[in-house]
């Protein structure tokens, strides 16, 4: 279990605060983001909301990718918040070659770029495709699966904020059970998103047997950077699914983005793991398990579960999902 050692969590945030510490680390292990020579791939001045997890995740991921690829990077972006807030002409927050085509075709456009590079004998350039959960698990899913199946040389990053945010918070295939969105309102007999739905794309990616699959979260930015860096070193189809809170869509305080993300991980609702060629090779253990309520209560999209009267059945069902993850991914071993 050499791998497991490399995933040892750096536990430098102090109890009660949610800032990630770098000062206590030696230079070599600090985040890319803390370096003076970071590339600011997604530069400041874009128009994301305050506390946007997606903006945070993309910035860390792309800067790490730039460093790992020696600045030889091309990125494709599906339609969605990230694309819209970063790019209205004549401005662009991107300092890297970046292209937006459509909502549902980012994986295929990236495959095309990879093919062109191959035709031109450029094996020094890394191709990244990125999109939200909607672009990834719903409308672009066919293209994504095709890209995996052909093992095209593309790293795909999914920023999962669990709904279609760009169009005003509608449900996606990644919206969790019971969550309120504008197409799964908190009304009627079963308020919020129906239970039993959802699509676990990391596991589906895994089933394609591609060289590298990982889940990551802005809860642990060191870990996110490490996984991106590792993925850049691998050839073929790679997939990283990043959990990114959206204060607007989740109804959470913009100042609580890190807190919310960490509670998703610490409760077991968002398991962090890595897989190679279809096999899970390691997962990140939970430090101190928290009940799912601690996570849910910070978000108005789950407000209806807290009543009155409290929806104990729903809360139990969500707790069961977390417990299941903990068992399946061995998060408490």
């Amino acid at each position: 279990m050499d791998e497991a050692m490399t995933t040892e969590r750096i536990k430098f945030y102090q109890t009660g605060t949610f800032t990630a510490g770098n000062r206590l680390l030696d230079e070599a292990t600090r985040t890319v983001q803390s370096r003076l020579d970071r590339t600011n791939s997604l530069n400041s001045g874009h128009r994301a909301c305050q506390g946007c997890g997606e903006a945070l995740g993309a910035r860390y991921a792309l800067d790490a990718a730039m460093r790992a690829s020696h600045n030889q990077l091309i990125a494709v972006n599906a339609t969605g918040c990230l694309e819209v807030f970063s790019s209205p002409y004549p401005e662009s927050a991107w300092q890297i070659p970046w292209m937006h085509s459509l909502f549902g075709n980012a994986p295929a456009v990236a495959s095309g770029i990879a093919a062109a590079l191959r035709a031109k004998r450029r094996d020094d350039v890394t191709v990244i495709a990125q999109g939200g959960d909607g672009a990834t698990v719903d409308i672009g899913f066919g293209c994504l699966s095709g890209m995996f199946e052909r093992n095209d040389d593309v790293l795909y990053l999914c920023y999962d904020n669990e709904a279609y945010m760009n169009t005003g918070i509608q449900r996606s295939g990644a919206t969790p059970p019971f969550a309120r969105t504008n197409t799964t309102q908190a009304v009627g007999e079963h308020p919020g998103n129906p239970i039993g739905n959802g699509k676990n794309v990391p596991r589906i990616a895994l089933a394609h047997g591609i060289p590298y699959v990982a889940t990551a979260s802005v809860a642990d930015l060191h870990d996110l950077e490490r996984k991106v860096t590792k993925a850049i070193g691998v050839r073929g189809a790679r997939y990283i699914h990043v959990h990114v809170p959206c204060p607007l869509g989740w109804g959470s305080d913009p100042a609580h983005t890190m807190k919310v993300a960490r509670l998703a991980v610490e409760s077991g609702l968002f398991p962090l793991f890595e897989a190679e060629f279809g096999k899970i090779i390691c997962s990140t253990p939970i430090r101190r398990k928290v009940p799912v309520e601690r996570y849910l209560e910070l978000q108005t999209r789950f407000k209806h579960l807290f009543g009155p009267p409290q929806d104990t059945e729903a809360l139990a069902a969500i707790q069961a999902m977390a417990d299941d993850n903990i068992a399946v991914y061995g998060l408490m071993e």
Binding site: F141, T167, R171, N182
Partner: protein
């Protein structure tokens, strides 16, 4: 009941009154408010046993409805722009199968460059997909057209698109008389399909047709659509009897009695054109306006009849056939074949550019003075074009056109006005 209400909400309420049994939708601006309200209403149990499916793409949305409609259910969806194009294959298919699906198009431009604002490029792209296309002038019209659409679709076994201008209508709050269930039930009979998947009486739907009959099948479709030109006026009459107001129709005239000049258009710009017509009339210009309410099938004879005394026609359209010019104006021209009328094409309001009364008035006077270039682009900023052309002459790797144009114009971020 007459109320001050958002266009999308009014339309959603009207759809609910039509009691669809299956709704499938995929979000895209500016259609979202309509389907969000329908999702809520279904979830609250306000639309009977209606099933609302949150699908994974527009292609899936319409495909779900194809299945549902073939099983005898009344069906509805709404989309815009990229979404309509994403479902394109199913759009043709639904029509070919003769399924009376009703779909709202919240009209929006098509990218690239990505643009979420209003024009008619989306429904124009699919104008020949064998769907009836109705265009709403205001939100009252939008509400009424949807109710008529179900009756029209089901009586002819053919799908109908109701086109309403994105944002301009979907997001506008204005007074609308939203009818009640009793009125709608009296006007709209229950759906009685001509073909249905039924274990009691098995039929095969959607099998292959070779060269022997494909032409005849298409000819039949063409005839069905032409029949819509006869059916629609009857539906409008019936609608008036039930609801005590006149709505919809193939085409209509405004102050055309003695007009030398007719401005022809579709959708919400009609309102602004009427204001321009009134203002010009006050200065003695004999101008009128013709609204096309039904674009497919195209009411050739009816339009031509309204232009009996006209010598000059100006078609104002929110779309562009690049490399050719106008789309609607080509249809108008074919309707006026053999007549001595000058037809001008005016491209306006692309990608959400506001069409002002003053620009319209200026343009009409220029047309009268024979000073319009063809096609004429309303409010075109020529300086920007010249600068960009010059730049491209000098630099080979000139980069994205849009980026540099906006830089020349000193625009920061997207702005609408």
């Amino acid at each position: 009941m007459r109320m001050q209400i958002e266009g999308s909400q009014a339309v959603a309420d009207a759809i609910a009154l039509c009691q669809p049994e299956v709704i499938a939708a995929y979000p895209i601006s500016p259609q979202t408010h309509i389907v969000e309200r329908l999702s809520r209403k279904t979830k609250q149990g306000h639309i009977g046993r209606c099933q609302f499916l949150n699908v994974e793409s527009e292609f899936a949305a319409l495909s779900v409805l194809i299945g549902a409609s073939a099983s005898g259910a009344r069906t509805y969806t709404a989309t815009s722009s990229q979404g309509l194009l994403f479902m394109a294959e199913a759009v043709y298919n639904a029509a070919g199968l003769g399924l009376p699906i009703v779909m709202t198009i919240a009209n929006r431009a098509i990218g690239a460059p990505i643009n979420i604002w209003n024009d008619h490029s989306d429904s124009m792209a699919l104008r020949d997909a064998e769907w009836i296309q109705l265009f709403a002038e205001d939100n009252q019209d939008a509400v009424d057209l949807h109710i008529q659409a179900f009756r029209l679709a089901e009586s002819l076994s053919c799908p109908v698109m109701v086109c309403m201008d994105g944002y301009v209508l979907t997001h506008a709050y204005e007074p609308v008389d939203v009818p009640d269930a009793v009125q709608v039930n009296a006007y709209l009979p229950p759906y009685d399909p001509v073909q249905v998947l039924d274990p009691e009486r098995p039929v095969s739907i959607g099998a292959m047709v070779g060269p022997e009959a494909f032409t005849e099948v298409k000819y039949f479709s063409h005839q069905q659509h032409l029949r819509a030109l006869e059916v629609m006026p009857e539906l409008v009459e019936a609608f008036e009897q039930h609801f005590q107001r006149r709505s919809g129709g193939l085409c209509s005239a405004y102050r055309m009695e003695d007009a030398d000049i007719a401005v022809i258009a579709m959708g919400s710009v009609i309102g602004t054109i009427k204001d321009a017509v009134d203002e010009l009339r006050n200065t003695g210009v004999r101008v009128g306006c013709v609204k096309i309410g039904c674009y497919r099938p195209f009411p050739k004879f009816q339009v031509s009849a309204l232009l009996e005394k006209t010598t000059r026609v100006i078609v104002v359209e929110k779309d562009l056939a690049v490399g050719m010019g106008g789309i609607v104006s080509a249809d108008v021209q074919s309707a006026l074949q053999g007549r001595q009328i000058s037809v001008h094409t005016v491209i306006a309001g692309l990608g959400g550019r506001s069409i002002s009364t003053s620009s319209l008035k200026h343009m009409i006077l220029e047309a009268r003075a024979e000073r319009l270039t063809e096609p004429y682009f309303l409010d075109l900023n020529k300086t920007v074009i010249e600068q960009e052309l010059a730049r491209r002459r000098d630099i080979r790797r000139a980069g994205p056109v849009a980026e540099h144009m906006l830089q020349t114009m000193n625009v920061i971020g997207t702005k609408v006005s």
